[in-house]
Amino acid sequence: MIWNETKECMSRDELHNLQSARLKKMVSRVYHNVEFYRKKMQQMGIEPGDIKDIDDLVKLPFTTKNDLRENYPFGLFAVPQSEVVRIHASSGTTGKATVVGYTRRDIEIWQECVARVLAMDGVGPQDKIQVAYGYGLFTGGLGLHYGAETIGATVVPMSTGNTQRLITMMEDFGATAIACTPSYLLHIAETLEEAGKIDNIKLKAAICGAEPWTDNMRKEIEEKLHLKAYDIYGLSEILGPGVAADCEYHTGLHVYEDHFVPEIIHPETLEPCKEGEVGELVFTTITKEALPLLRYRTKDLTSISYDKCECGRTLARISRFKGRSDDMLIIRGVNVFPSQVEAALLELGETSPHYLLIVDRINNLDYLEVQVEVEERFFSDEIKELENLTKKISHVLHSALGLSVKVKLVEPKTIARSEGKAKRVIDKRKLI
């Protein structure tokens, strides 16, 4: 079903007018309320009055994750703190998290967007949905939760970490929908198969996201669990889950353009790409109040199509992601930057800063191993001391990344040093 036909199926001309009106207001708001943007626009010699319609978007400055970091925690907020009703946070490139805020209206928009996704995926008041994204600072759990409540579904807030309990409740409650990462869903499917319970399951829809996946993975999930699986995309800087999602035709993810205006740019030249050309996805939020962002560079690589979809929606579609233009990894739905590992190791000061991340997927669960060189000055000839060191490193990395890490001590100078950019990551998963 189409949750909001007025918005999701409006003509491109109407959408153009709506976006233009919203952008003008938004630019004026950030100019007056956010010093960072005012200064940037002044440096570029532009004023809010120069932005007359959505085509003027290209005149505006870009925003990067680093800008959020430099204005940590609330420097880019455009409203007084009294109007902020929620904070979420995701990984930063080093040390500090990326912090985002929402007004009550922002939360309502978020609910609306997730409601559109769930309606598109055939979920409604008759459904019992298990939300198995993490609840807390991560936007996944609460984002799906509020959206599912908005459409009137019965929400079971599972969060993550206990597959047995999830399966028991899936069976006992007769859950009809699930929201989780696609790799976790495959893991659930295999656990169900092993327990001989797969035929007891009543799931009909799966809302999968927070990590890249392929069409083949979707088909595998659908075959194993006899359900329809859909892709949901989002990032906390823009909203959280619900920025874009695919319909039953699976020909790209519909972007909720009445709230988030997408652009595809060449990541080097920053020039706009042609329709269909792969480049970096950039979003401008045109309704957000607490943290409105101009031309936020997502670093996700994709292409865009403005053709009308067979489902009847006129919203632009972005293709499945082709990778990243930076070195961010997504492990169990958690964003990980190699630089976070480096910063944590340097802060600990008990190992060399040479490290190697090995990411693997075993039985559909992601594992992160961090190899650290045992330098002579940190080397003890007692096993217990080396074990303590391993534990200490695991602990600091777990705190820094929000992810369990297996630490492996290796001999000095065995991690390759290369000229220029060091090879810091071996990703054995085949995702794209």
């Binding site: 045992v374 330098e375 002579e376 080397f379 000839d381 007692e382 096993i383 080396l386 074990e387 492996k408 001590l409 290796v410 001999e411 000095p412 100078k413 065995t414």
Partner: protein
């Protein structure tokens, strides 16, 4: 007196242990005795060698993390109960053993290499108990039959 033990960190990878023994052989360094403590991912090879400083240098050149650790080698007689007796006087003095292994000897007596929580105190206690410890020269040269 304390003696120098050569300790080296070895990853559980094919050929690494062999590389250590090969490097020592190339420089004519004799391994008088050794113990290998292993975990699932790495091992610690602890050795008494004919020339610890040179041994450390050689292994470092090979890219290993190698260090010299102070240990003691206590001489005990080859009859039932002697190991227990020496451990008892150490434990009674509140000392704990970090690790220990035997120093290979061909004679009537044997020696036990020990890393203890407090080596100075251990030497006092052993002396009071009339136990002899190997000198560094003795330990390094045991079983060294290099043609000079």
């Amino acid at each position: 007196m304390v003696i120098k033990q050569l300790s080296v960190f070895i990853e559980n990878r094919e050929g690494r242990l062999e590389r250590v023994t090969e490097a020592l052989r190339e420089r004519n360094i004799n391994i008088a005795s050794f113990s290998l403590a292993d975990t699932s991912e790495y091992g610690l090879l602890r050795m008494i060698v004919s020339d610890p400083e040179e041994g450390q240098k050689v292994l470092k050149e090979e890219g290993f993390s190698a260090k010299l650790t102070d240990v003691i080698a206590v001489k005990i007689a080859q009859r039932p109960g002697t190991l227990h007796e020496v451990l008892k006087i150490l434990f009674d003095a509140g000392l704990s053993v970090e690790y220990m292994y035997t120093l290979a000897t061909a004679g009537k007596d044997t020696s036990i290499i020990m890393k203890l929580s407090n080596l100075d105190r251990a030497l006092e206690v052993l002396q009071a108990g009339k136990y002899a410890v190997c000198t560094d020269k003795e330990a390094y040269e045991i079983n060294n039959h290099v043609d000079k």
